[in-house]
């Protein structure tokens, strides 16, 4: 098992015109995320009881009308944010894949969380994404594009921080030929990485809110 995630980097408030934004990279995979809102929403899309989420993931190539990642990001965010705090409003989150060297799904989820944190949204729990692939019966966490291409199975976990501080599974997309034991092993492999990503969130936010000592 390859149990290390690649080096993460993040720059907050990266885009001037968004309420919250982040430039996030995980190894050579790089994404930009921005969010604007809660703000006005068209009457046809307004929800009387909750905030409307508008998620759009845009890859760096191809048709970007719909993307399979939108569903998992939207679902994870709706569990992590108390949408009922902002009825009759909408928040727009746009994630641009800038450079794809594997684990794009995980990077997109992490960057979306950073953009929301930068925006100052009240969270119920923070969330993160971890991608795992299987290459020749070996589980690889945070794979590169080459490893992804050679894989026979792919899992994308979205984890959130549980009440006891340990990562809890929030969403999962698994595709390929798996058995239950492998899925369980993949989740066991993902948990320490999720904790490491949560620690990284803390470090970045601490840096953002620290008083400049120079």
């Amino acid at each position: 098992m390859a149990a290390r995630i690649r080096e993460m980097r993040c720059e907050l408030s990266f885009l001037k015109n968004a309420d919250g934004s982040a430039c996030f990279s995980q190894g050579s995979t790089c994404v930009w995320a921005s969010c604007s809102g809660p703000g006005d929403v068209h009457a046809s899309r307004a929800n009387e009881e909750a905030m409307t989420l508008d998620i759009s993931y845009r890859a760096n190539c191809g048709d970007n009308k719909f993307n399979v990642l939108n569903n998992i990001i939207q679902s994870t965010m709706s569990k992590a944010i108390n949408l009922e705090l902002f009825p009759h409003t909408a928040i727009t989150v746009t994630i641009h894949g800038i450079q794809d060297d594997g684990s794009m799904g995980a990077a997109a989820i992490n960057s979306a969380c950073f953009a929301l944190l930068d925006n100052g949204m009240p969270f119920e729990t923070v969330f993160c994404g971890i991608q795992i692939v299987r290459v020749k019966d070996e589980l690889i966490i945070d794979p590169t594009a080459k490893q992804e291409a050679a894989s026979t199975g792919k899992i994308l976990f979205a984890a959130c921080k549980g009440a006891d501080g340990y990562p809890e599974m929030c969403s999962m997309d698994a595709i390929g030929q798996w058995d239950y034991i492998q899925l369980e092993a993949a989740w066991s492999l993902a948990q320490p990485s999720a904790s490491a990503i949560f620690d990284f969130y803390r470090t970045v936010m601490k840096r953002k809110h620290s008083v400049d000592e120079r």
Binding site: N70, C160, A174, Q177
Partner: protein, 276 residues
């Protein structure tokens, strides 16, 4: 207060009382299977099916065309949006189902080669356009769509191809050199049938244990009060072909139970098809 009023103003409270007793409001057990009805060959194309299960009815039609051998995608799936299914949701299901074809869970790529009258493989491949129409949507769509595609593929009958192009000829194959011979029909060689089951995970917040209750194929009303939902697709050798889980699950063992239930249901389907 009548139960219908309670159901309208406090669906969570209404449903909780039933789930504590281990049943849905219609009297079905929480892990009881629902009837699956399918009919093949009624909707045109080279293969078709209509499937009805858990309040969802879908039709599936397969249209075939011939192409030269290439690395390109041979199967395209199109779930048509309807009043009950938005374009965004339909496209999401398309994206979800496509990997089941690319990784050969339904059918292997080599089994899509065109055959001549003697069953010999030609340098041509079948391309399929699978169109799914949603006729009624009162439950989980994925369960019905996976069954419908499997049934339509099993119903698919393809003609033999007559290719008037010698093997040694290096010139490109012309359209006029390809002819379909409907005198000899070939059936597709499929992988073992897939079974999809959807589950809901309900958490009883009023109980002391706050235990997670597993619901099999919950309807829309029951799904709305579930903390998590999960769709599991099981294929050959009881291997998991696809899992889509949404919402928080504290115990991973629930997933094991879902996989076991889906595998058991698949065995029943395989047995029913064998005896039919």
């Amino acid at each position: 207060m009548s139960s219908e009023v309670l159901r309208g103003i406090d669906p969570l409270g209404y449903l909780t009382t039933f789930f504590r007793e281990g049943v849905f409001p219609d009297g079905r057990g929480l892990l009881d299977e629902q009837k699956l009805v399918f009919k093949q060959g009624e909707c045109g194309g080279v293969g078709s099916s209509v499937v009805s299960t858990q309040g969802v009815t879908v039709s599936c039609t397969i249209e075939a065309s011939v192409s030269l051998v290439s690395d390109g995608q041979l199967i395209n799936i199109q779930i048509e949006p309807s009043q009950q299914l938005s374009e965004k949701e339909a496209e999401d299901f398309n994206n979800l189902l496509l990997p089941l074809f690319t990784n050969g869970s339904f059918i292997l790529r080599e089994n899509l080669r065109c055959l001549d009258v003697n069953g010999k493989a030609l340098p041509l491949e079948w391309q399929f356009l699978i169109t799914v129409k949603v006729l009624c949507l009162e439950g989980n769509l994925l369960d019905a769509v996976v069954c419908a595609i499997g049934a339509a593929l099993a119903d698919t009958k393809l003609p033999s191809i007559v290719l008037n192009h010698s093997e040694g000829d290096e010139s490109a194959i012309e359209k006029s050199q390809i002819q379909a011979d409907y005198g000899t029909i070939h059936k597709l060689i499929l992988e073992e049938p897939l079974m999809c089951c959807s589950f809901g995970v309900f958490v009883d917040n009023d109980s002391k244990k706050k235990s997670e209750i597993l619901l099999m194929t919950p309807d829309i009303e029951a799904t709305s009060v579930c903390r998590a939902t999960c769709s599991v697709v099981i294929g050959k050798g009881d291997r998991i072909a696809l899992v889509r889980e949404r919402g928080r699950i504290t115990s991973f063992s629930l997933l094991k139970k879902m996989c076991q239930i889906t595998a058991e249901r698949r065995h029943k389907l395989v047995e029913a098809l064998r005896t039919a």
